[in-house]
C-alpha cells in the first residue's frame, strides 16, 4: 500500500489529472444527473398546480402547494393509513415469528432440525408472490366462511404476508442468534429461568439490532409489494399506497398527474429515510439476494 499512499500525496495536476482522476468526476456528474432528474421531475410536478403531464414538463416554473392540500380530499390519506397499518403489523408479526423460529433452531437440538432448516432454505427459493393465483382462489373460498380473512380484507392480506415470514427471514436471524454465547442462557437456566424467560428477557434484548433490521426490511418489502395486494384488495378505500397510486398514474386519459406526483413524494419519504439506515447492511452483503421490489 506504500506506493498508493505515496501517489495520494504527490499532487497530480494538468493533463495527467484529467487522464487519471478528472474523467471520474465527469462520469460521476453525468450519472448523478441521470439519477436525480426523474426525482427532480416528480418534485417539480408535485409543486405544479396545473396537474397534467404536459403542464409538468417545465421544471420548477411554479411553486405551489395546491396539490398537497388537495390530497386531503382524496383517498390518499386512507391508503397511507392502510399501508402503515398493514406494513407495521406484518413487520411486527414477521419479527416475532422469525425470532421465535430462529431461537428454536439456534438453541435446541432436536431430531429433524437439520431437515427443517434445509426445507426452509428450499422454500425460500420460491417467493410467495409466484402463487398469487392460488392465493386469490384460497382467499376466495376462505372468504365464504370467514369474510375477515377472505378477499378484500386487510387482515387477510396481512395473514398472506405473514405466510412468508419464516421462509425469508429465519436465516438472517438464525446466524445472528448463533453469535450470542450459549453460556448466557445456560447460566440463566441454572438460576431457574424457564426457556420462555430466557427467550423474552435475555435473547430478544441481545439480538435487538437484527430484530430492527428484519422489521424494517419486511416493512419496506410489504410497502412496495404490489401484485398480491392488487389481487386481494378490490375496493378503493381498502387499497394500499402501491395499488392506489398505480390506479392514479395508469389512467391514460385524465391521470391526476399533479396529485400523483405529490402523493409519490410523500410516500417515498419514509422509505428513502429507512434506506439510509439499511444501506450499510446491503453493502455488507447481509441481504444476499434481497433485492428490493
Amino acid at each position: 500500500m506504500a506506493t498508493t499512499s505515496l501517489e495520494q500525496h504527490a499532487p497530480v495536476t494538468g493533463l495527467r489529472w484529467w487522464r487519471e482522476v478528472g474523467w471520474r468526476h465527469v462520469i460521476g456528474i453525468v450519472m448523478i444527473a441521470i439519477c436525480v432528474l426523474p426525482l427532480l421531475y416528480v418534485i417539480s410536478a408535485s409543486l405544479n398546480p396545473n396537474g397534467t403531464l404536459t403542464g409538468s414538463n417545465k421544471l420548477f416554473r411554479t411553486f405551489s402547494l395546491t396539490n398537497y392540500s388537495e390530497l386531503a380530499s382524496t383517498d390518499f390519506a386512507k391508503w397511507g393509513v392502510n399501508s402503515l397499518v398493514i406494513c407495521t403489523v406484518t413487520a411486527l408479526g414477521t419479527v416475532f415469528m422469525g425470532a421465535a423460529a430462529a431461537y428454536a433452531f439456534s438453541r435446541f437440538r432436536f431430531s429433524g432440525r437439520r431437515a427443517s432448516l434445509t426445507a426452509l432454505l428450499l422454500i425460500q427459493m420460491f417467493p410467495q408472490m409466484l402463487a398469487f393465483v392460488a392465493i386469490f382462489l384460497l382467499l376466495l373460498s376462505v372468504g365464504t366462511v370467514f369474510p375477515a380473512l377472505g378477499l378484500n380484507s386487510q387482515l387477510g392480506l396481512i395473514a398472506v404476508y405473514l405466510g412468508g415470514a419464516l421462509g425469508v427471514n429465519t436465516f438472517l436471524m438464525y446466524g445472528f442468534f448463533n453469535t450470542v454465547p450459549r453460556e448466557l442462557d445456560e447460566a440463566a437456566k441454572i438460576d431457574g429461568a424457564s426457556h420462555a424467560q430466557i427467550f423474552f428477557t435475555i435473547i430478544l434484548r441481545l439480538v435487538a439490532p437484527i430484530l430492527a433490521v428484519v422489521g424494517l426490511l419486511s416493512f419496506v418489502s410489504a410497502y412496495g409489494e404490489f401484485v398480491v395486494a392488487k389481487v386481494v384488495l378490490q375496493r378503493v378505500e381498502h387499497y394500499t399506497l402501491a395499488v392506489g397510486l398505480y390506479v392514479w398514474a395508469s389512467d391514460e386519459r385524465n391521470a391526476p398527474w399533479g396529485l400523483f406526483a405529490a402523493a409519490a413524494v410523500l410516500s417515498a419519504i419514509p422509505v428513502v429515510l429507512l434506506f439510509q439506515f439499511l444501506q450499510r447492511y446491503i453493502v455488507g452483503g447481509l441481504f444476499a439476494g434481497s433485492v428490493k421490489g
Binding site: 432436536f110 412468508g164 424467560q197 404490489f226 421490489g293
Partner: protein
Amino acid sequence: MSTQQTGSRATAPDIDEQIVTRRKGTTSHARDFGPGFFVKLVLVAVVNALGVYGILAAAAVGSWGIVGFLVIALVLVDWVYFSRRMLPVKYLLPGLLFLLVYQLFVMAYTGYVAFTNYGDGHNSTKADAISAIQIQTERRVEGSPSYPLAVLEKGGVLAVAIVENDKAMVGTADQALAAVGGATVEAGRVTAVPGYTTLAFAQIAQRQDEITNLRVPVAADGSKGSLRTQDASTGYIYTPSTVYDAATDTFTDVVAGTVYKASAEGTFTAADGTTLNPGWRAGVGLKNFTTMFTDSRISGPFFNILAWTFAFAILSVATTFALGLFLAVTFNDPRVRYRRLYRSLLILPYAFPGFLAALVWRGMLNPRFGFVNEVLLRGTHVPWLTDPWLAKVSVLLVNLWLGFPYMFLICTGALQAIPGDVIESARMDGAGALRILRSMTLPLLMISVAPLLIASFAFNFNNFTLIYMLTGGGPNFAGSPIVVGHTDILISMVYSVAFEGGNKQYGLASAVSILIFVIVGTISWIGFRRTKTLEEL
C-alpha cells in the same frame, strides 16, 4: 464448534429435565402459575375460542376442508403448548402454521389447479353447475296465467304474495307458496299481510336486482316450477326447459329433445358438440400444458414471452452489473474527492420505492406529453412504450436506472474486501491496470458477487411490478385469445390469463406458474450449490 455442540447436547436436556420435573412435581409452587403461565393460558384460550368459532362457521356452510384443517391445528396447538415436551415446536408453531397455509398450501394448490379447467365457466362444483343450468334454462310456461303480485319483506328476507283461487299465498326463496290468513286483498292484489311489510316503490327500486333474481317455488319439492317477476307487479310461473336425470347423468331439452351428456371436460355436451353453460371444475390432465405449447394461438405469444423473459432477466443483470461495476471501479480510486457524496447520490434510485419509480418513468416516457420526448428530445414523438422493440428497450433502460445502484453498492463492498497486497504484487510483477482488472480483480470479485447475481436474475425473472406498471405488458399481440403483449414476462402473463380479459383461466395461469416454479427452482438450485449454504447449517 463440534465439541461445543456435543457438550450442550449432553447438558441442555438435563437442565430442561430438572426444570420440568420441578415444575411438574410441585404444582403448588408459586412460580408455576406465574404471570407467564396466565398469559399463555389466555392466549391459548383466545386461539381456542376463535378456532371453535371457525369450526362451527365452516361446518355451517359445509367447508369440510377448512373444518378438518382447523380441528387438526387446534388439537396441535393445545397439545404443543400444554405438553412439557416439544420445546422447539412451541417456538416454531406460529410461523409454521402461516407458512403451511399461505406458502406451502398455495404452492400445492397451484399444482392442483394447473391440472384442472378452473376458470370462467368452470368455477364451481358439478352440483352447483346443475342447479345453475336449471335456473338459466328456465322458460315461462306456455299459456300460464299471470299473477298480480306484491313484494313483501320480513326481517330483510324478500317474499312475494299472490292471490290464487281467492286465497292469499305467500312464499320466499326458501319456502314454497302457502296460504296465509288475515291478508288484505284489493282488486285481486295483496296489499298487506300481517307480520310482513309491503315494499313501497322506492324500496323496490333499491332492491331491483334482488327482486328480479327471486325465485319462489310453487310446490315444496320444486316440481311445479317457480314464481318469478321482472317488474315487481306481475308474476309468472317458470319451469326449466331442460331436465336433469341423475341416473344417466344427462340433461334433456324438453322442447328440442337434445340430450346433453356429462363429459370428462367438465361440461354437459350434446352429440353435435354444443354445450350447456356453466360447466364445473374438472381435472383435465395435461391439457393446460399442451395448450401452452401446441395451441398455435397461445403458443405463439407464449414462446415469445418465454424468450423475452430470459432475455429481460439476463440483460437486466448484465447491464446493471456492468454499469455498477464500472462505477464502483471508477470511484474506488482514493484520489477522487467527494466520493462519499457521489455514493450517497448514486444510490438514490435504489432508495426510491420501485413501484413509484416505474410509474414516474411511465409518465416521463409518454409519447405525446412525456418529459423525455417533449423536453429532452425537443418535441419528437418517439413511441417509447408503444413500439414492440422500443418498449423492450425502455423496460431495460428503466430497469438499469432502478438496478445499477444495488450492483454499485455490492461491487464497492466486494472491491474494498479484496486485499490490497494481492493487487500490489501483481503490479510489481509488471501487470498493467487492465490486466489487473481482468485477471485479478474480476475473478476475486466474482467469488462474492456471483450468488447475488443469481439472486438478482431470479428476482428480475419475476419482476412483475416493473413490467405491469411501466408498460402493462403492451403493446399487445394481435389475434391472441389472451391479453398479452411484447413486453410481458411469464409472471405478468400469469396475471393476464388469470385476471384480465374476458375469460379468466385459472387452470392455464397455474400451469404457467408451475413452469416458473421449475425454472426459478432450477436456477436457485445452481446458485445454492455454488454458495454451499447447506454446509453451514
